[in-house]
C-alpha cells in the first residue's frame, strides 16, 4: 500500500473535503434507490414472506394445532410459524437467503461500475474530483447498504405478515427453552443483520466482476451465474475440503442464533469468510478499476 503512495505525483490542486464524499454517497444512494429496477427487486423480496405466510395459513387451515408439514420439509423453522408469527421472519430469511437476496445484491453490485460504463456516464463521474478509489468505495458502500435494506425489507414484511396471519407471543428456541417476545424480536434483528453481513462477499464479488466489463448485463449475469455455480458445488460431497471457503457455505448458520445458548462457531466463521471475500475481491476491484482505461 505504501508502494501505491509513491505512485502519486503532484496532489490535485483542490483537495475535496471529507463531506464531499458523503455528498457523493448520498447522491449515489438516491440514484440507486430511485431506479425502478431496485424498487421492483425490493417489491419481489417483500412479497416472498407474504406468499410463504399465506401458503402456510391456507395449508393448516388457520388452526394453530395443525403443526407444520410432515417430516420437517421446506425451509427452516416452517413448522413453528403457525404457533408464532415471529418465526415467519426466520423462515422468510432462510427461504430468500440462498437465492433471492444474493441475486438482488448481484444485480445491484454487477450494475455498479459496468452499468455506468454501458450507459456512458462513468467518465462524467470521474470528471468530478472524486477519484477512482473514492468512487469505488462509494459504490461498494451503496451495495452494502442495499444488502442491509433488502434484508430488512424481507424481515419487516415477514414480521407484518406474521403478526397479521398468526398469533405472536413468547417463543420456543430450537433448543427447547423459552424466551420472551421482546428477546425474540432482538434475536430477529440480530439475525437480519447477520444475514445482511452474509451478503458482503457476494457484493464484493459482484463489484469486481463489474470492473471487468463495460456491459452491465454481462456483469449481473456473471455474478448471478457464479452464485448458482458455487451453490451447486457446495452440494457436492466430494468437494468437502474446499467447501468451507465458499461464500455461501455458512449462510444458513444464522439459525444458530436461535439456539440457547447461542452457538457462535459457524456464525463467526461465516463473518470471517465474508470479510475475506470483501478484502480479496474489494482489493482486486480496486486494482482493476484504478488501472483500467475508461473508454465509456
Amino acid at each position: 500500500m505504501s508502494r501505491a503512495e509513491t505512485v502519486a505525483t503532484a496532489p490535485p490542486p483542490v483537495r475535496p473535503s471529507p463531506l464531499w464524499t458523503l455528498g457523493l454517497l448520498r447522491s449515489e444512494l438516491l440514484t440507486t434507490l430511485r431506479r425502478w429496477r431496485t424498487l421492483a427487486l425490493l417489491g419481489v423480496l417483500a412479497a416472498v414472506p407474504v406468499l410463504v405466510g399465506v401458503a402456510v395459513r391456507i395449508e393448516t387451515g388457520g388452526s394453530p394445532a395443525g403443526g407444520g408439514p410432515e417430516g420437517g420439509g421446506g425451509p427452516a423453522f416452517i413448522a413453528q410459524i403457525t404457533n408464532n408469527g415471529l418465526f415467519l421472519v426466520f423462515t422468510a430469511l432462510a427461504a430468500t437467503l440462498p437465492f433471492f437476496l444474493p441475486m438482488a445484491v448481484g444485480v445491484i453490485a454487477g450494475d455498479a461500475i459496468a452499468g455506468e460504463a454501458s450507459a456512458g456516464t462513468l467518465r462524467y463521474l470521474l470528471v468530478a474530483p472524486a477519484g477512482r478509489t473514492r468512487l469505488l468505495l462509494v459504490k461498494y458502500t451503496t451495495t452494502v447498504a442495499f444488502c442491509v435494506l433488502a434484508t430488512l425489507v424481507v424481515a419487516l414484511s415477514a414480521l407484518i405478515a406474521g403478526a397479521v396471519l398468526f398469533p405472536l407471543g413468547d417463543l420456543t428456541t430450537i433448543s427447547g427453552t423459552r424466551i420472551t417476545f421482546g428477546e425474540g424480536l432482538l434475536r430477529a434483528l440480530l439475525i437480519a443483520l447477520v444475514v445482511a453481513a452474509s451478503l458482503i462477499g457476494v457484493a464484493a464479488l459482484g463489484l469486481f466482476v463489474s470492473t471487468l466489463t463495460n456491459s452491465g448485463i454481462a456483469a449481473m449475469a456473471t455474478t448471478v451465474g457464479l452464485l448458482i455455480t458455487v451453490q451447486i458445488l457446495d452440494q457436492i460431497p466430494q468437494l468437502h475440503a474446499i467447501q468451507p471457503y465458499f461464500f455461501s457455505h455458512y449462510w444458513l448458520s444464522f439459525a444458530d442464533l436461535m439456539r440457547e445458548p447461542v452457538y457462535w462457531d459457524d456464525v463467526l466463521r461465516n463473518l470471517g469468510v465474508q470479510a475475506l471475500y470483501a478484502a480479496v475481491f474489494g482489493s482486486a476491484a480496486w486494482a482493476r478499476f484504478t488501472a483500467k482505461d475508461i473508454t465509456a
Partner: protein, 415 residues
C-alpha cells in the same frame, strides 16, 4: 485500505509509459497478498495453537484410571463432536428403518429418542451436553437450522425435535435418574468406561504423553489390544488432568486410516449450567407423543454406542427382516478379550442367495457381503471397518471385532 489520492494521478499520458504499466500491474499484488496472508493465517494459526503439549507431572496408568474412577463431575456443560466412520455402505433411510425395527419403536414420532439417536451411528455430529447433578441433564444434537434435544429434569424426560415441532414425553421414577446418567449418550465418560472394562491380560494400557483438549490440559491414556486378530487398533482417551473427567475418546482400527469413533469435547465448562437450560414446556401447537412410563429409560438402548452393541443392533434388524424365526438361542462367546467372537444359531436357513422367502433383504445382504468358504461350509461375511460378521448358510452367525480370517477359523473350529 487504499489511499485516496494515489490513483488520481492515473492519466491518459501514463498509459504509454511502460513503467506506469508495470506499476499498475503491481496493484494486482494487493489482492494476491491478501489471499496469501489469509492462507498463511488459516494454515499456521491452528498449527501454532496446537504446538506444545502441556507440561504435566508424570502419572502411571493405574493412577490415571483411578483418577477417572474417582472423578465426580456433577455439573458441566459443553460441546461434543462425534465422528463415526464404521465404513458402512450408506444405506440412507434403510439403516433407520432397520434400526427402528430392531428397537421395536414404530410409532413414527420423530421426537422419539430411540429413533432419533440411532442417527448418530454414522457421520459427524455436534452435540451439546449439560448436566447438573443426577436429576437434570440435557443432550442436544445440533442439526442444520434445527436441533434435537433430550431433557431430563426430575421425573420428566422430554424429547423435542424442532424441525418437525414434535415432542416426546416420558416419565421416570426418581431412582431411574441415576441409572440413566451414564446412558444419556456417547459422552466421553461413558465410552471410556466401556473401554476400561476390557482391560485385562490381553491389553496394553499406558499413559502416552499429554494433550490440549477443549482448552484444558489432559493426559492421554492409550489402550492397545495385544491380540493380532482383532480389528481394534488402539483406543486413546484424553483425561482432564484436573478433574479426571475423560474429554476425548478415539478408536482407531488396526487396518489404519481415520478413526472409527472420535468423540470429544470441543468446549467444556465445569460451572453450573443455568437452571433455565433444563426447563422445558412443550411449545404451543406441538404434537406431543407420550412414551412409556417408569422403568423404560429412553435413550439408554440406542445411547449405548459401544461397538459391540451397534453391531448387534444391526444383526437384530437383519434377523427381523428374515421372517418369523425364533430369536437367537444359545448365545456362545468364543475366546476372550479383544478377539472374542459371539456365535449364535438363528435356527433357520442362512443367507444363501437362493434361500428366498425372506424378502428383498436376503438379496441385499448377499449383495453387500462377501462369499466365503471353509471346512464349515460356506457363508457370507458382512464387514465394516470395526465389526465383522459371518453368517453361514446353515444359519449360524459369528460376530466380533475381529478379522474375517478369525471368523472363518472360529466357524471351522465349531464344526
Amino acid at each position: 485500505m487504499a489511499p485516496y489520492e494515489s490513483d488520481d494521478s492515473t492519466t491518459a499520458g501514463d498509459a504509454d509509459d511502460p513503467r506506469a504499466g508495470r506499476r499498475r500491474a503491481a496493484r494486482y499484488g494487493v489482492p494476491v497478498a491478501v489471499v496469501g496472508v489469509a492462507a498463511v493465517t488459516i494454515g499456521l494459526v491452528p498449527a501454532l495453537a496446537d504446538s506444545g503439549d502441556p507440561d504435566l507431572p508424570r502419572i502411571s496408568a493405574q493412577k490415571l484410571i483411578e483418577k477417572i474412577a474417582a472423578s465426580d463431575v456433577q455439573q458441566l456443560s459443553g460441546t461434543v463432536k462425534v465422528s463415526t466412520d464404521l465404513g458402512l455402505p450408506d444405506l440412507g433411510g434403510l439403516t433407520g428403518s432397520l434400526a427402528s425395527g430392531a428397537t421395536g419403536s414404530g410409532d413414527g414420532s420423530s421426537a422419539d429418542p430411540t429413533a432419533k439417536l440411532t442417527e448418530l451411528a454414522t457421520g459427524t455430529h455436534t452435540l451439546r451436553v449439560a448436566a447438573d447433578g443426577p436429576d437434570r441433564q440435557k443432550l442436544s444434537v445440533l442439526e442444520n437450522a434445527a436441533e434435537y434435544s433430550v431433557v431430563h429434569n426430575g421425573k420428566d424426560v422430554w424429547g423435542y425435535d424442532s424441525a418437525s415441532n414434535e415432542v416426546y414425553h416420558a416419565t421416570t421414577d426418581a431412582g431411574a435418574g441415576t441409572a440413566r446418567q451414564d446412558g444419556t449418550g456417547p459422552t466421553p465418560q461413558r465410552l471410556a468406561e466401556d473401554a476400561l472394562k476390557a482391560v485385562d491380560s490381553t491389553t496394553d494400557v499406558k499413559v502416552d504423553g499429554t494433550a490440549h483438549v477443549a482448552g484444558r490440559d489432559a493426559y492421554k491414556l492409550v489402550v492397545k489390544p495385544k491380540d493380532a486378530n482383532t480389528t481394534v487398533g488402539a483406543i486413546s482417551i484424553a483425561v482432564d488432568a484436573e478433574t479426571g473427567m475423560p474429554l476425548k475418546f478415539t478408536l482407531t482400527p488396526a487396518s489404519g486410516g481415520s478413526a472409527v469413533i472420535d468423540a470429544g469435547f470441543t468446549k467444556v465448562s465445569f460451572a453450573k449450567p443455568a437452571a433455565s437450560t433444563f426447563d422445558f414446556t412443550p411449545p404451543k401447537g406441538a404434537k406431543v407423543t407420550e412414551g412409556d412410563t417408569a422403568g423404560h429409560a429412553p435413550g439408554t438402548k440406542s445411547g449405548d454406542r459401544s461397538p459391540a452393541a451397534s453391531g448387534k443392533g444391526a444383526d437384530k434388524g437383519t434377523e427381523k427382516g428374515r421372517g418369523a424365526h425364533a430369536g437367537p438361542d444359545g448365545l456362545n462367546v468364543i475366546g476372550d478379550g479383544w478377539d472374542s467372537i459371539a456365535a449364535f444359531d438363528t435356527g433357520g436357513e442362512g443367507l444363501s442367495a437362493g434361500a428366498g422367502g425372506g424378502g428383498d433383504l436376503n438379496g441385499l445382504v448377499g449383495a453387500l457381503g462377501d462369499k466365503v468358504k471353509g471346512s464349515f461350509g460356506s457363508g457370507t461375511v458382512l464387514s465394516t471397518r470395526l465389526i465383522n460378521a459371518l453368517v453361514t448358510d446353515d444359519g449360524t452367525v459369528y460376530v466380533g471385532a475381529v478379522t474375517k480370517d478369525a471368523l472363518v477359523k472360529a466357524a471351522d473350529a465349531a464344526k
